[in-house]
């Protein structure tokens, strides 16, 4: 069984995010790390391949400056190889373009039995890319998977809903997005970290993949303004002089709560 995982490399969330004033996009300078949301997908893929008794886990990623730090983490976990799409022309790309790029990268790898993505990234959190990829690739999809198995060549998923979860079966090949906690990601071993340094990363551009009209030109959107949100007003402090309850009742009546 072959599985491809979509992996995003993001600025370290431990550092405050910042926007590039010239492009109005998130600053992605320097070392990027593996988005924690995607570590669940990598682990899920490794476990599914192990359970199937053979196969390969491969990665696709889109990142600026030929950045591979986050990819190497996923390779150290056990993935075999990766396609990295890195191209200055991609700056400003929207979710739809990202989905087209990642779908083309999946095709470059020859496809797979299963494609796994996180439900959303930790920095962009659009939450549409997995389903958009499925549509581009013409695949069935199950989003928000909280439990995943493959039995008899059929994908079985517990899919999160507002009321609980649905038990869904789906033919392969397919695409799923997994929620955080679907499995517990492993820590890369020292041996895995060393081995990852030699694993192949195929670095390509959008043009190499045949995807044109990317970046701001193809985004269908422009940033009009960026402003600081108004600071939340300080709350009113009511000193209890024995009549505080009346003031609280008046306040709640004003809100039409009572």
């Amino acid at each position: 069984m072959n599985v491809i995982v979509c992996v995003k490399q993001i600025p370290d969330p431990a550092n405050p995010g910042a926007l590039d004033a010239s492009s109005n996009t998130l600053k992605r300078e320097g070392k990027l790390i593996l988005d924690e949301s995607d570590s669940y997908g990598v682990e899920m893929a490794l476990q599914l391949v192990a359970a199937a008794g053979g196969g390969e886990v491969n990665l696709v990623s889109m990142a600026p400056n030929n950045e591979t730090s986050g990819l190497r983490t996923a390779l150290a976990m056990g993935a075999a190889k990766a396609v990295l799409v890195s191209d200055p022309a991609l700056l400003g790309s929207d979710a739809l373009t990202t989905a087209k790029i990642l779908a083309a990268a999946v095709t470059r790898l020859g496809g797979a039995d299963l494609i796994i993505a996180a439900t959303e990234s930790s920095d962009g959190y659009t939450g549409t890319v997995p389903e958009q990829m499925a549509e581009v690739l013409g695949l069935p999809s199950v989003t928000f998977a909280k439990k995943v198995s493959v039995e008899g060549g059929v994908l079985k998923v517990d899919r999160q809903t507002e009321d609980g979860y649905d038990e869904v079966t789906c033919p392969l090949p397919a695409l799923i997005s997994v929620t955080a906690g679907v499995v517990e990601p492993r820590y890369p071993s020292f041996k895995g970290i060393m081995a990852a340094k030699a694993k192949p990363v195929d670095e390509v551009t959008a043009a190499d993949l045949g995807v044109t009209l990317v970046g701001w030109a193809g985004a269908g959107q422009k940033v009009s303004s960026i402003t600081q949100a108004e600071a939340r007003a300080a709350g009113e402090v009511i000193e209890d002089d024995g009549e505080a309850f009346a003031k609280i009742v008046t306040f709640l009546e004003g809100l039409k709560v009572i």
């Binding site: 549409t128 985004a219 949100a229």
Partner: protein, 171 residues
């Protein structure tokens, strides 16, 4: 010209539209457009309430034992191809809504702007506001491609929600 025709995808649970869907419908109606609502599954039970909240028409899509995303997006695309293209399609915060808007985005080749807390139409220009960095920064983004514009609202954005609650009390 302008935003004259809006579609709202309404999430229905136990035969009733969710508060987030009514919130969205209220917002759509406030934009002065004709509002049609799309529902995954049997829309009959919800049609009355949706009508009271301003829906002029309710489209119900039967998706059988499949997931709703492909079925609803395909039905929307067929309607658009049939000459009933909306200017704007609005989605509430729901699992089904995410699937439908993502599939539709590819089918019509339009971007989708998500996690919005406000939307303003000025003629044909539509701008949405999205909080980032934990809500400290607000980004206003304007659609630049052609219609239909696709956007997604965060639920329980209080000014909208209060109007919904007041409306619910008056019904």
């Amino acid at each position: 010209m302008g935003i004259n025709n809006i579609w709202v995808f309404a999430q229905v649970a136990n035969g009733a539209p969710t508060s987030g869907s009514l919130e969205l419908l209220t917002k759509a109606r406030s934009m002065g457009a004709t509002v049609s609502v799309w529902v995954a599954g049997d829309g009959a039970a919800a049609a009355g309430v949706l009508g009271e909240f301003g829906a002029s028409k309710v489209f119900a899509v039967n998706y059988g034992s499949n997931l709703a995303g492909v079925a609803v997006a395909s039905a929307m695309k067929a309607s658009i191809d049939g000459g009933q293209a909306p200017d704007l399609v609005m989605f509430p915060q729901s699992y089904e809504g995410r699937d439908v808007m993502a599939r539709l985005s590819v089918k019509v080749g339009r971007t989708v702007l998500t996690n919005n807390i406000e939307i303003v139409a000025d003629g044909e220009s539509v701008t949405v506001t999205t909080p980032i960095f934990g809500g400290n920064t607000l980004v206003a983004t304007t659609f630049t491609g052609g219609t239909p514009y696709l956007q997604h609202f965060v639920q329980n954005h209080s000014p909208l929600n209060q109007r919904v609650e007041q409306r619910q009390k008056s019904l």
